[in-house]
Symmetry: C2
Subunit: 347 residues, 2 copies
């Protein structure tokens, strides 16, 4: 089997046989083997079951990698390198998960564990940064070298990509563009600040705004009509505002609830303003917007985001805003890109 | 005279004898000769007299350079390179001023004119970018390689500095951090967008907010007391709100006008939010804040900016916020730094 051989690298270091990419998600692990062009040779997925703890979790990552290798008919120890995208916060320098709320894992030496397990070099990065790199190399940002990526999901993450590589900055924590302030007096954010993009445009932020709207509607009691802002939303949760999630707000907006529509529109405007702000600050070639909330609301969101971003961008600073193209594959593809860079000595 | 000799460069390209830096400002030209450590050898200033047109203006730049060279006892044609910071918008690639509202010059080939005049290589950049680089190399950012610079003046400009160099991005127009949106529903900005940092925190933005405040106060007429927000401000402009400028607002705030104080506080909070946002996005080692409005209000502004930025920065993203140290020398020092980089082959 070819995979039993050590990875082949030419003198120029430009050829690698295959690499492994891993997406460690809060609910799902995706592992894939890919050739030097990022073509998938084998792929496997498993539930994360983070609640079982880090030790079992690490074993599940390993067995998912082994299943992907088996699917490819290759040995995992024959890979030139391994890349992994993980929820943060991470200590990139030490290759550790510090205290990831999505996994409830603390101080897990993910990189070294994988190095030991598979005997191959490993590179770890944040899931959103990997997602951005995946979109750059294989998705909506293909061909660009300067890109800003927004991942609009339950939270808002992102990546700044410059010269084809993820920007970490001096702090090693650059790219946290969910916590750009877009509304100085805006709603409280989970981070402790006010008016962050995440507080307005994330699934959680949309849900909290929806809950406030539903409460206001509920307070109207008998005066409530079909056309009252929040009335449709309140009905979706059987009259209980505490049950409101982001998805309900989107649903009520689609059904014509003017209050829910205003919340969704404000979320899109906030993303557009942040995208335009990043164009002015960083001069990217393209802005790519992904994540589950974006995917579900793309039709309503994208034109608003594009219009606001174009208005915010100064003359000479504008860039196209594109929808992410890889869906839930973006993180594993970014992990593959990182592994390829590492194997080629560019990581 | 040593200046009559060609510039001395070692094999490693690390030694240059001296360079010329120029700050082309709206009202004043500063030219200076400096050695490879940025030590000023000679310096001259002149009025810009931009209204006399670009042709005379270019001659005034040249004569200011010659005066600085004379002061140093060196020949301008002996300089290893020339750097110049100019108001924009510029076309960096072609070395041109496109259409600078501060100078009312259009399509001026500044770089090539200087090359022809002095026979030395010339590098052109925006004044605010030069100011940021000056602060990095010789001012408040000394020792850092990753820095974000805000220039808070009549407008708001800035610079993103990464790996010790000005970031231009794919558009070549990166660094326009005056046009980060910090208030989605905020006041109109001169750029056509809403709620940009510049609309809230620039001298012009503070002035416009002051004018609104004074109008509200004037509308109260007889009901106006000493304690009414805007009353003191209105008195400073002899009851004519159209006369309000940013300086009046600062003055009224210092005199205890609660409305003027709120405007100044909001400006400081906006700068703090933008600084914290840039920490999260870019992970700089330090944020430096300069410009005339900042210098005049440093005592009131800096603690607020620092507090808000620290709250906005995520754990692991924080960086110190420092006051610019070079005052009105920042642009010419940045121009010197650029000239040194060019002479050393790093420009």
């Amino acid at each position: 089997m070819p995979g039993k051989n050590p990875p082949v690298r030419s003198e120029e270091g430009s050829y690698v046989s295959y690499v492994i990419g891993i997406d460690l998600g809060g609910t799902k692990i995706i592992a894939a083997l890919a050739d030097e062009n990022g073509r998938i040779l084998g792929r496997a997925t498993a539930e994360t079951r983070a609640h079982e703890g880090a030790e079992k979790g690490l074993e599940r990552i390993a067995s998912t990698v082994e299943a992907a290798a088996l699917a490819a008919g290759l040995g995992p120890r024959g890979a030139a390198a391994i890349g992994i995208g993980s929820p943060g916060p991470l200590d990139i320098r030490r290759g550790m998960i510090l205290d990831a709320p999505n996994l409830k894992w603390k101080q897990v030496p993910l990189r070294d564990w994988l190095v030991q397990r598979f005997g191959r070099p490993v590179v770890l990065t944040n899931d959103c940064k990997a997602g951005g790199l995946g979109e750059l190399r294989y998705g909506a940002g293909r061909g660009a070298r300067e890109m800003v990526y927004f991942g609009i999901g339950t939270g808002v993450g992102g990546a700044v990509i410059q010269n084809g590589q993820i920007t970490y900055g001096h702090t090693l924590n650059a790219g946290e563009i969910g916590h750009i302030v877009v509304d100085l007096d805006g709603p409280d954010c989970a981070c402790g600040a006010q008016g962050c993009l995440e507080a307005i445009a994330s699934g959680a932020g949309i849900g909290r705004a929806g809950e406030r709207l539903a409460r206001e509607a509920a307070a109207r009691g008998a005066a409530l009509t079909e056309e009252t802002p929040g009335a449709r939303l309140l009905r979706l949760v059987d009259g209980d505002p505490t049950k409101v999630h982001g998805g309900h707000v989107a649903q009520a907006a689609a059904a014509g609830d003017p209050g829910a529509q205003a919340i969704m529109m404000r979320a899109a405007r906030a993303i557009g303003a942040a995208a335009g702000s990043m164009m002015n600050a960083l001069g990217p070639e393209v802005v790519v917007i992904g994540g589950g909330v974006m995917a579900k609301n793309a039709e309503a969101f994208l034109p608003v985001i594009q219009e606001v971003a174009a208005r915010v961008a100064l003359p000479g600073c504008g860039a196209p805003v594109k929808l992410a193209a890889l869906g839930e594959e973006s993180v594993v593809m970014g992990a593959i890109a990182l592994a390829l860079d590492l194997a080629k000595g560019q990581g």
